[in-house]
């Protein structure tokens, strides 16, 4: 679109470096406290180490999650596609205030839980994925990321939604999460209903419920040995879903 300048100008063109345009497209970050590394003992006795994913680990995470796009049951394809786009959105700085927690057992990727801060008050839950069966890994990663948002970042609300029946059952029904009016309010994952946990509900009910379901709690004093075992991320060789 063009309009004639209503004034004489000394230059007919202005040239911008793309680095000058980038601040228009990349959200400036909230000052988020980092997730302190933690560990938790799983039902089968193994120790899950939970830390933030490192930006340089994004390509290996992408290469693994990409395999989920080809799984055509139980909504793994749509979840995999969205998680792939979220990891890449984090990597390419096209996701506002994201957090990506990974759960590792002896370095092997066992779970992922991510989300982003809409504001200091509202945390948007994106996805939880488990790559290890039978130990309530989904519950653990969901607990860790909700704990991060509500206890460490100080958010007052947690907004979830669910693509799959299993996800809806685990977090929507079993945590008895209320919903905001729909379609007045829509989750950014496809415009679906927003299920929410307020800080008050978390304190009174959900936190303890999750601890009970998991059978243990987060330990933030992580021994050096556990850290070292999990320094390098290894992705599973197969997709077992």
């Amino acid at each position: 679109m063009r309009l004639e300048p209503p004034c004489k100008v000394t230059r007919d063109k202005l040239t911008f470096d793309v680095a000058e345009i980038e601040p228009l497209l990349q959200a400036f970050p909230l000052d988020m406290e980092p997730w302190p590394e933690a560990m938790i003992t799983l039902k089968d006795g193994r120790v899950l180490y939970i830390r933030e994913a490192k930006i340089e680990e994004a390509p290996v995470l992408l290469s693994y999650v990409k395999k989920m796009l080809d799984v055509d049951h139980d909504f793994y394809d749509i979840v995999g596609a969205r998680v792939y786009a979220e990891i890449l959105g984090w990597y390419r700085k096209r996701l506002k205030d994201p957090f990506t927690l990974i759960g590792l057992i002896d370095g092997q990727l066992a779970g992922l839980g991510n989300g982003r801060m809409f504001s200091k008050d509202i945390a948007v839950s994106l996805h939880t994925m488990t790559f290890s069966r039978g130990v309530r890994m989904g519950w653990v990663m969901y607990y860790a990321k909700t704990y991060y948002a509500l206890e460490i970042l100080g958010a007052s609300e947690w907004w979830s939604t669910f693509e799959s029946y299993n996800g809806w059952r685990m977090a929507g029904v079993e945590m008895a999460q209320p919903q905001y009016p729909w379609p007045t309010m829509q989750h950014e994952l496809g415009g679906s209903p927003i299920y929410y946990v307020s800080k008050n509900y978390w304190n009174k009910v959900i936190k303890q419920y999750l601890r009970t379901m998991i059978g243990s709690d987060l330990i933030f004093d992580v021994p050096e040995e556990v850290k070292q075992k999990n320094r390098t991320l290894i992705v599973p060789s197969d997709v077992t879903v």
Binding site: I21, A27, K66, I78, A85, L88, R94, F118, E163, G191
Partner: protein
């Protein structure tokens, strides 16, 4: 979570078919008027036929766009990843009121434009892609989807955002789109700024600007010959980005 029933019950368990749960996760659709097929003559004289994508075409579309996820320049990877998740979200019914227009030249998939309706008033622009070079195919696809929103669906606002500098230059700056206050308003594509076009701005300036950029107008009287040539969508052999 469990609480003892405060009343005698005749059944201790209720079992649901997943088909009974599906309405909790799948948004009931708005009554969207379909896009009427159209042609537009490109700058280079070729005829672009624009129609809605068919659900059975989703897998072939997904597989082609997956190849664009590998392009590590100019934000094609994040755009490709998000478009893949939108295509899967459409066919897995995890996107509220989506539409996806495909532009074809003699059956070859030349352009793509999609979005979804937040409400009868607000149309969320998701992505626009050109797969063949020349002819301003991207502009033609953007024009078609904005025309669909404002002229056919009766939307009053169009919400866009941009991952790439080129997209921002072409549409954000090119249409002199205003943006809503950020971070109070966030686009569902990663929480970025919402750039918007209102119906009165569309009527007064944008419609004519985009039409001039394309160089011709939509023709809704499509000859059988064109329709038949474009019955089957075939992706290009190469990824030209």
């Amino acid at each position: 979570m469990r609480i003892d029933p405060p009343c005698k019950v005749s059944r201790e368990q209720l079992t649901f078919d997943v088909a009974e749960i599906e309405p909790m996760l799948q948004a009931p659709p708005l009554d969207l008027k379909p896009w009427p097929e159209a042609t537009i003559t490109l700058k280079d004289g070729r005829i672009l036929y624009i129609r809605e994508a068919k659900p059975e075409e989703a897998p072939v579309m997904r597989d082609y766009v997956k190849r664009i996820m590998e392009a590590e320049h100019d934000f094609y990877d994040i755009v490709g990843a998000r478009v893949v998740s939108e295509i899967i979200g459409w066919y897995r019914k995890r996107l509220k009121d989506p539409y996806q227009l495909v532009g074809l030249i003699d059956g070859v998939w030349a352009g793509f434009a999609n979005g979804r309706l937040i409400s009868q008033d607000i149309n969320v622009s998701l992505h626009t892609m050109a797969f063949l070079r020349g002819g301003r195919i991207g502009a033609a696809m953007y024009y078609a989807k904005a025309y669909y929103g404002f002229e056919i669906l009766g939307n009053t606002e169009w919400w866009a955002t941009y991952e790439s500098y080129n997209g921002w230059k072409r549409w954000g700056l090119g249409m002199a789109q205003p943006s809503y206050p950020w971070p109070e308003y966030q686009h569902e594509l990663g929480g970025a700024r919402v750039y918007y076009v209102r119906k009165n701005y569309w009527d007064a300036a944008v419609k004519d600007y985009v039409r001039q950029t394309v160089g011709s107008d939509l023709n809704f009287d499509v000859p059988d010959e064109i329709r038949e040539k474009n019955e089957t969508l075939t992706p290009p052999d190469e990824v030209l980005v």
